[in-house]
Amino acid sequence: MILKGPALERLFKKPWIWSYLGTLIVWLITVSFTKGQGAGDIITAALSFATFTVIVGLGQMFVITTGPGNIDLSIPANIALSGAVTMKIMDGTNDMLVVGFLVAMGCGLLVGIFNYSLIRILKIPPIIATLSSSFLVLSTAIAYGRGLKVKPPPFLADFTTEMVYGVPMLALVVIGLAFGLSVVLHRTLYGRSVLAIGQNMRAARLAGINVERIRFATYVLSGLLASLCGLALAGFSGGASLNMGEEYLLASIAVVVIGGTSVAGGRANVPGIWGASLFMFLLVTMLNTLGASGGVRLIMTGLIIIAVITAAGGEKQQH
């Protein structure tokens, strides 16, 4: 160990450190099993696939940070909708690229507004509101996206699979996105308001924060990011499919929690989202490499996630 004393101690107090530590350990086990074969490829693959989890995880993180009860379950449906709609509109050519992107953002905006309206106007708890809206959104996607599979425009397909020195281009962009959102979270009025509301909604209102406007913006943000993910995923996997968002329901929540964001709200952690997404991917890779059967893989995934959360959650509530 090069780091010593207080510096190391401070590092271990960061809630995100555990997800990176887990990532490293899982990678080492995998690589030692394959005797070093494909060590670099595994990292490249992890970065490629984790990117999509990071995009939706960031949105989910903002939602969860606004306080207990806030969650967005419409992410998978949103991914499916924006994938289907944009692929059909762009119809495999580069001509409609900008329009496609704008339409994707439009989908996200609408889903976000719809979610928030259910929560606010009909006073439905977010967990039910976003779940029921996801059925509606998915039905729309099915109705619209019926028929043949459309290939993504060449530019989008290239961009989402482009490598820069073995690092996926898209991952670099999303690292930038995460950095940007980290600044938003800590250094802008919006971000501070999100953190304040998550700690104490009543106090936030009395401190002059427009609570409902911030919650609205947050659900819209999550919607936008999920739609962005749908667009990128469709480009990456050669076309949209209606079930391509499925795995991101639990994944988006899991990376938020493993990444050290407080489920009770008010404390968010952006670097942790990346660490946790890499960890989740490498964990499955490791279990595959070790030759675990489907059942064992699920059990191990569950147990290891619990272990990481326990380790990361060791941080005591300050009183």
């Binding site: 009395l206 401190a207 427009n210 300050q318």
Partner: protein, 493 residues
């Protein structure tokens, strides 16, 4: 040292550190059966820490804790404290807000079990509430979160005095009267004397020195984590207590003389409000530069009116009942639920209301944030080494100061104060009164909900609430305690 009475608690050289802050520096104290021990000191003097150690909620770093003659320091905790008949009514209330009054009683008394426990819990707390606070108006099936802070405090106090299987020897009352109005506070203090006459003991912590002088047998004065004086209550006077605490106040300085002898109505009208449910009656008016008091029994509609004014200002919503000219800020008395952000530093807590003006481009300028925090740390004397420490590292009174800094440092022209001096010591109070007066003279308008006469004396004009309505108004020169009390009991029309 022979003791005629049996000694319940004996603390020797108890120390406690929080990081670099020495909260307790070798404290010696004892409590005998059948006495009321008064405990006074400034915010951060270590009173609450000492009581937390005694109640078992904090463990001491060093020292001897002897309870009923047994040394328990090594493995002392809340269970031990309860088993030995020591109960504590904390300054930060400790009831579960999602449970009913009766269910909260069950939380303390594990003996209430089996068929019909709820019925027994109801009877237990109802009888005790009747005994201590006759006419309390609390139903045992009320959910605690729905009760006003005053009523929650009454439930918490009554619960501490209930007995099932475990004995009751000592009740610690940490600022018990700060959320109660004058009448219920008297009822409680009377009950304390009654309990003492039955060989039970109490520790009474209060910033209202009159209470401590009148109702304690012996008084302990703490300063900077040490006991600096201990004498029978009869040997102290208000002045000698204050002197021991370390503040010198001149006689009568709590009553500020009217500097410019303002004439009402010569400055612009800032706030006009009538209670939402009020059909007729007095209308609340506040002119620029005035300090307007909202008086009456606790929970008579003062807080609701303040929130109504606040909402009207925030939403820019002007109704028939409310009109507000200018930005507002609110200082909450119930700081746990309405005030602080527990995950944040002191600095972040102070600056949240003023972030808008610190934005450069898109981002908040950290330098301006630090500057504001530092400025108010000095101006209002927040007792901390570092404004970047967590807000909860401060004592209750200092947390309240941070909330004052948040409001006074903002751009608000109208400051609404909802009984903001709960748990604030007398020295700080005088500083804050002074600050409020200066701010008012420079054109800020204050609306001040308070149940303490001393604070009403600082107001230019006072409105008195009863049963949700404003029943009368008094100019500063006409203000007397008797008039306020009489109006407080007036039936609303």
């Amino acid at each position: 040292m022979s003791t005629a009475r049996s000694r319940i608690v004996d603390l020797k050289d108890v120390t406690k550190k929080f990081g670099a802050v020495r909260a307790l520096v070798g404290v010696n104290a004892h409590v005998d059966a059948g006495e009321c021990l008064g405990l006074v000191g400034h915010n951060g003097a270590g009173k609450s820490t000492l009581m937390n150690v005694l109640a078992g909620t904090l463990s001491s770093d060093d020292g001897v804790i002897t309870i009923h003659g047994q040394d328990l320091a090594a493995h002392y905790n809340v269970r031990q404290a309860h088993r030995n008949g020591i109960r504590c009514v904390f300054q930060e209330l400790s009831l579960c807000p999602n449970l009913t009054v009766a269910e909260n009683v069950r939380v303390l008394h594990t003996a209430l079990k089996g068929v019909g426990w709820k019925q027994r819990a109801r009877r237990l707390i109802r009888d005790k509430l009747e005994e201590i606070f006759p006419g309390h108006g609390i139903s045992t099936d009320d959910v605690v979160g729905d009760l006003s802070i005053g009523k929650r405090q009454m439930v918490e106090i009554a619960r501490a005095f209930t007995v099932t299987t475990e004995p009751l020897h000592l009740v610690i009352l940490d600022e018990p009267t700060s959320s109660l109005d004058g009448i219920t506070a008297k009822q409680l203090l009377k009950h304390v004397r009654k309990a003492v006459s039955k060989e039970q003991s109490c520790i009474l912590i209060s910033h209202l020195l009159g209470e401590v002088l009148d109702y304690s047998d012996r008084i302990l004065v703490m300063k900077d984590g040490e006991v600096v004086a201990e004498r029978p209550a009869s040997e102290f006077t208000r002045d000698s207590l204050v002197a021991k605490m370390g503040t010198v106040i001149e006689e009568g300085s709590a009553k500020v003389e009217d500097p410019a002898h303002k004439v009402r109505g010569t400055t612009p009208l800032m706030v006009r409000a009538q209670d939402k449910y009020q059909e007729t009656g007095v209308e609340l008016l506040a002119y620029k530069g005035e300090i307007v008091g909202l008086a009456g029994l606790a929970g008579s509609g003062q807080t609701r009116t303040l929130i109504q004014i606040y909402d009207a200002a925030i939403k820019g919503k002007r109704t028939e009942k409310t009109a507000v000219e200018g930005p507002v800020a609110l200082i909450a008395g119930d700081r746990q639920t309405d005030g602080i952000f527990p995950l944040w530093s002191i600095s972040q807590n102070v600056c949240i209301r003023s972030l808008k003006r610190m934005v450069k481009g898109w981002m908040i300028d950290p330098a301006q944030e630090d500057a504001m925090a530092e400025k108010w740390k000095n101006k209002i004397k927040i007792k901390t080494m570092n404004m970047d420490d967590n807000i909860l590292s401060l004592s209750g009174g200092n947390q309240q100061k941070a909330l004052f800094a948040r409001a006074l440092g903002s751009d608000a022209e109208i400051v609404l104060m909802d009984d903001p001096m709960r748990g604030v010591d007398i020295g700080t109070k005088l500083e804050v009164y002074e600050l409020i007066r200066t701010e008012a003279d420079s054109g800020r308008t204050f609306l001040w909900n308070t149940t303490e006469m001393e604070e009403l004396n600082n107001c230019d004009y006072v409105y008195i609430f009863s049963e949700g309505k404003i029943v009368s108004e008094l100019a500063r020169d006409d203000l007397t305690e008797e008039k306020v009390l009489r109006s407080s009991f007036e039936k609303g029309n």
